[in-house]
Symmetry: D3
Subunit: 157 residues, 6 copies
């Protein structure tokens, strides 16, 4: 647990203030897709590979690997956009789709871990009322409410 | 045309560098929902109320009003999040939903008008491959390709 | 209850003014699923089996039959709800789903053929802004605008 | 509780037999969006602002306001269509979308509160088997079954 | 329980090695839609009409009948494609839609009952990461994990 | 053109009768993700990398690479399921989603290229009427009708 925490902090330090990998880090020889994916995933989940990814491992270990290597290693860790913006975009998309509540909650946590404020998260979710309707936005806010309560964070008004 | 351009520039100036209304502007007496909505919509479309909103007016004028007053006046113009981030979130959501291509194209234009770079737009759309699948991301990129060609902008690599 | 039954019977005359089959018609021996389906489909399309259903026949004749026998014969022609209400419900659902524009246009025509006013159709579509977001509602209104233009009908304000 | 009940009854009386606000009521000076929204929402929920809307208030009070002012005040309370028809259209759309079960249950209750019979609600949900597939229709019926059990209502056959 | 098991085994025997009805069986006079549907449904659920279909009967008996007569009698039991392939296609579609988890679990069981291996089911679900995104695939695998645990089956690696 | 044709034929030969890569081929050192992806993609499109993937290259070359390396190299070319079954699963999913018609048409062609019969493709699409509704199935059949006409293939009845 401590180890995971330290590892996570080290990765956060690696990812730095803006929450992106430097282009140099991300492309240097030997810094491979898997390591890059683990770094990004760990920052987002705050607990290493994440419980959800781990829970896939006995039935579909390839899917776990694809999440890490492709999802986080190839895509999410690209330095051209900050993790901060990426997590807000993911929260927007999952709120709008409305059919993946466990992942929406994970990425609301991930947005907090990437340095988004509760206010920013709430704004993005509320905006989805315009693009995907009120039920989607309401269910998104209820997911955020649960995450904020677990984490003890408040939305400043 | 010139008038629209000037009006748009004036509104951009009003909205300022960060693309947000100041809280003071947005809430001062007499600066109402409709004016606030028109300012935000005009910045995003670059052509006043936007052709799509206008095209609704003879059949469903209330819907035009709701887009402006509620969608842009109440929601999108809130100063708690920049137009820049809001447009990226909207592009993410519409790419993921995949069932509103005309609006996706409008908001790719809107993202450019709000100061997003083509690179940021492409990154957000590509990221949707992870959260909504490749067909959604591919159709999003093809929409962006059309908009970029119309606007003569290039994605820097 | 009796009143409803009588009303339903009165609404008869093989689809008649209100566009429902009488319970008596619908259940009498020999009045089979296919005939009942054709009657309902013909009222809704205004052109017999409908061009879309016909266009399926060479590749997937079973699907044509299922549309008629199951979709219209078993479900849509049930006398417990008027065709008028059924078509508004279908317009609502297809507007909200946003991924079947040809069918949405067919059912906007169908709603007119079942006696719905353009105003009722517009109200139901606009309401979807609340439940499925503005892009869905806007694309629904644009579909209605096309149908109303083809049919030369006006929305009274 | 009693107060809420009386308020709700008073609002039902105001909304009258057809479940619509009279055009005169709805547009008279001083009868504003919020009051109109509260009247419609209260009729639909049967318990004032509704538990779901209230539950948003600490995290996203603006979203609560938008539901009431825009969703119910601007859209759902429009007198051009009865609440009865509006609720059936909403039940159709939410059944078809299939990704907002809490809201579907709320609107099945709302449909009962607006005077729809259980039979009408069941017919609209079953019809969605044709337009959105059997899983959507089955999950809609299971939601209705729960609501009908809570309310002690029966579907007449 | 034993009776159900035997009945199920008898139906499996009737449906034969490939899991399809012979064209002769399926079309012979007197072998009607309902019987054909019950045979296919029973093979897929392994428990006669299936708990879900039964649970609809008091509120919406027509929907139960349509599932059996149309869904299984007209469509799923067609001999032109094996039940094995049909169940994999259904698992693919329900994973991609992501809004009908109870039905997805039923059809993962159904796929096992139709003779699909756990490996084939996992492969089809994982493939949906490409076409519908990772959240859909992950939620599909978690559904499979639950079903495999209940049934005591393992995925061979 | 000829070169592409020959390359494609060579790859079809490599993929062999069952349309799968042998496990030995797929995992031998030096046979990398990209080559494996190109082999699978080429078999499915029948024209090398496919026009759609190529059309992404100037705006989003990374997305092209991900389609080939991840989508086809990691996922679709896995030998645990035949390309034949994979393409039917993809056709099922894209028909059900109903929001990616260009990709649906590509994969109907891909299913033919992987050795599926027009009858199998039609059966899978028609089955989606049960799981995703008639509009989805009808639009799927109309896509198949276009592809079959282009390719001059007939559905045997």
């Amino acid at each position: 647990m401590l180890k995971t925490r330290l590892q996570s902090l080290a990765l956060v330090a690696l990812l730095g203030v803006t929450g992106t990998l430097s282009a140099a880090e991300a492309t240097k020889p030997g810094y491979d897709r898997h390591a890059r994916g683990m770094a990004a995933l760990s920052t987002i989940t705050g607990d290493g590979a994440g419980k959800m990814v781990e829970s896939l491992r006995d039935v579909a270990p390839e899917l776990s690997d694809w999440v890490i290597d492709f999802g986080y290693g190839d895509v999410v860790s690209r330095p051209e956009l900050s993790l901060h913006t990426r997590e807000l975009a993911t929260v927007a998309a999952l709120t709008a789709l409305g059919n993946a509540q466990p992942q929406l909650k994970s990425h609301i946590k991930g947005a907090l871990n990437a340095g988004c404020t509760p206010r920013e998260i709430v704004e993005v979710i509320m905006q989805m009322a315009v693009y995907a309707g009120f039920p989607a936005a309401i269910n998104g806010i209820l997911a955020a409410k649960e995450v904020f309560a677990e984490r003890g964070v408040k939305v400043e008004h």
